[in-house]
């Protein structure tokens, strides 16, 4: 099976503290891969390394066959990697529609003349509207993004991530702070977009993780503790001790 991501000895140190320690991992294409682990296990740092938000202290990152270790975030995004953030990261002072339009338009950067009216950019408008429907925010398109409810803002961010039709999605706790209804709707959205794509997910909600994931990777103190199907992870004693046990108490 083709590989979406591969890391070799990926390490990140923060002034003496090693957040990600010599992680070599292969993530095959397709389906949802969830990364779980106790707080401080290095999940978000691992995401930041993959997406280029911070450079690694050592090790290499491969996206498909390509070494992307030295590429900037925008260059990685253009290769088909898109991410959401743990803390909602949208254009708060712009309208919902403008948010989505900018995300769709990014695909044309370097390909179309940006000084000509956007109507020249093929299906920019139809794509924007389709995506607004997809994330259920079409009726709220004129509102300022900062005035949306927390759940809607999280969904808008997933919309921004989806706009470029990326091969790989990195979603950092997309369900954090959502109400049960919002959670349900967003889980359905993630399931839908995971078809034909690779989704990397950091999540805490055990029920969601078990229902949505094809494989689960467990992080502990910056290293991979175990990888397997949800059933295998549930039955793994080391994982139970390190993580699930802690939750069960």
């Amino acid at each position: 099976m083709a590989v979406a991501f591969r890391t070799e000895g990926l390490t990140r140190r923060f002034s003496g503290f090693t957040a990600v320690n010599n992680v070599s991992i292969e993530i095959p294409e397709g389906g949802v891969r969830t990364i779980i682990g106790p707080n401080g296990a290095g999940k978000t740092t691992f995401f930041n390394l993959l997406s280029g938000r911070i450079p690694p202290s050592a090790g290499r990152i491969f996206f498909g066959d390509r070494d992307v270790t030295d590429l900037l975030p925008y260059q990685r995004a253009r290769l088909g990697m898109a991410r959401s953030f743990q803390i909602t990261n949208i254009f708060g002072k712009l309208s919902v529609e403008e948010n989505v339009r900018l995300a769709v338009q990014a695909v044309y950067d370097g390909k179309a003349n940006f000084f000509l009216p956007s109507s020249r950019m093929g299906d920019l408008r139809t794509k924007t509207e389709a995506l607004l429907h997809d994330i259920g925010l079409f009726d709220a398109r004129a509102a300022l993004a900062e005035n949306l409810s927390h759940g809607d803002q999280r969904r808008l961010e997933i919309g921004l991530v989806l706009a470029s039709d990326p091969k790989v999605l990195l979603l950092d706790e997309p369900l954090a702070g959502m109400s049960p209804t919002e959670t349900h709707a967003t889980v359905e959205l993630i399931k839908r977009v995971a078809e034909g794509r690779t989704v990397l997910l950091v999540e805490h909600d055990i029920d969601v993780i078990m229902s949505i994931s094809r494989t689960i990777t467990v992080f502990q103190t910056g290293a991979v503790l175990a990888t397997g199907t949800p059933q295998e992870i549930r039955g793994n004693e080391a994982v139970q001790r390190a993580y699930l046990g802690e939750l069960a108490e």
């Binding site: 938000r53 254009f91 002072k93 956007s118």
Partner: protein, 361 residues
């Protein structure tokens, strides 16, 4: 094309037509002892609008845009008057030139070249306060060249006797009249501002707004943020350059004030006064600033203090400037507007119901 000719440009045209009938701006007052400032307003409308392409639309404060105004003004003056230069033993002589388009070409060429060099140096290395300080430092370099390089630039006294150009098909002295020059300047200013409007409204302009709101998000969407910041910087120098070109011909003299810190600061004030999130804001700011200066300076020699007070009030009451206040007025109606002005609660209430983005024209 329809969008290009929608309201903000129409307003601009209307205001430019009305302007000569406003007290301080009236070119016909020239003979009556006033020095008309209508054309000054136009030059600064261009200057401030270009500066605000960075300040309002990208969210980056350049504190040295007067250097571009000065480079263009001095280039025009030197081209028109002719000069002798001895550069490290290589003498160069230039005859006086009367072709205003060549003067413009030289002005734009040198300004854009300098702007591009600076953008390549400054943009990848700095943002925020450092960006402002580095632009200020480079502007001081230009200022001291004009100030100290006396044989070439006329030093403190500057250059006098810049001949106004002749327009094809019109009498040679047509532009000598203040009113005629105003008409010429208004047309040039309007066309140049139309170009700016085009830039702001284009997909390129949207990306600038995205960068202003959230650089990191823009990067992770796949935008080469620094490329846009460089391009916006270079484009923003074009408008002060056209302003400086007009300014040299209009004043018929030029001195180091053109590139001074004071002018770099004045356009900050004009933009904030008029409204930095609006296309028309800096134009309006430039007009009001000069009208206030003209009016208040006839009443008291402490006019700068009064303008300062108005400025402070605006920063506190209407951070989106006059255009922002007009926008609120249009959106909420007069009673809600007054409630919002006095009550923080009312402001929060209406802000939550807000449906339109804050970028106004």
């Amino acid at each position: 094309m329809r969008r290009v000719f929608s309201s903000p440009l129409l307003w601009t045209a209307v205001v430019f037509v009305i302007l000569p009938f406003v007290a301080g701006a009236n070119p016909l007052h020239y003979s009556g002892g006033f020095i008309d400032i209508g054309t000054t307003m136009l030059c600064f409308a261009l200057f401030a609008s270009g500066f605000n392409l960075l300040f309002g639309h990208v969210g980056e404060l350049s504190f040295g845009h007067a250097m571009f105004f000065a480079i263009a003004a001095y280039t025009t003056a030197l081209y028109t008057k002719g000069f002798d230069l001895n550069l490290f033993g290589f003498p160069y002589h230039h005859d006086p030139g009367g072709n205003m388009l060549l003067a413009l070409a030289w002005s734009l060429g040198l300004t854009l070249l300098w702007g591009w060099l600076l953008a390549r140096i400054i943009v990848p290395r700095s943002s925020g306060i450092y960006y402002s300080m580095i632009t200020l430092a480079f502007a001081q370099v230009i200022f001291f060249i004009t100030y100290k390089f006396g044989d070439f630039t006329g030093g403190e006294d500057g250059l006098q006797g810049i001949a106004r150009p002749q327009l094809p098909g019109l009498p040679a002295d047509w532009l000598q009249s203040s009113l005629h020059f105003y008409i010429f300047a208004a047309i040039v200013t309007f066309l140049t501002l139309a170009l700016l409007y085009w830039i702001i409204e284009s997909p390129f302009g949207s990306v600038l707004h995205a960068i202003r709101e959230n650089k990191e998000r823009a990067r992770f969407l796949g935008y080469d943020v620094n490329k846009y910041r460089v391009n916006a910087f270079v484009l923003s120098t074009l408008f002060p350059a056209v302003g400086g070109w007009l300014w040299a011909y209009y004043q018929t003299s030029i001195n180091p004030d053109a590139g001074s810190v004071a002018y770099s600061g004045d356009v900050v004030m004009m933009s904030l006064l008029g409204g930095i999130y609006s296309f028309f804001g800096p134009v309006l700011g430039a007009i009001i600033y000069w009208e206030m200066q003209n009016g208040v300076s006839q009443v008291t020699k402490f006019w700068e203090a009064w303008i300062g007070i108005v400025f402070v009030v605006f920063v506190l009451v209407g951070p989106r400037g006059i255009m922002g206040l007009l926008d609120d007025l249009r959106r909420y109606g007069i009673s809600q507007f007054v409630r919002r002005s006095v009550s923080k609660d009312a402001r929060m209430e209406t802000d939550l119901a807000e449906e339109l983005p804050p970028v106004v024209h």
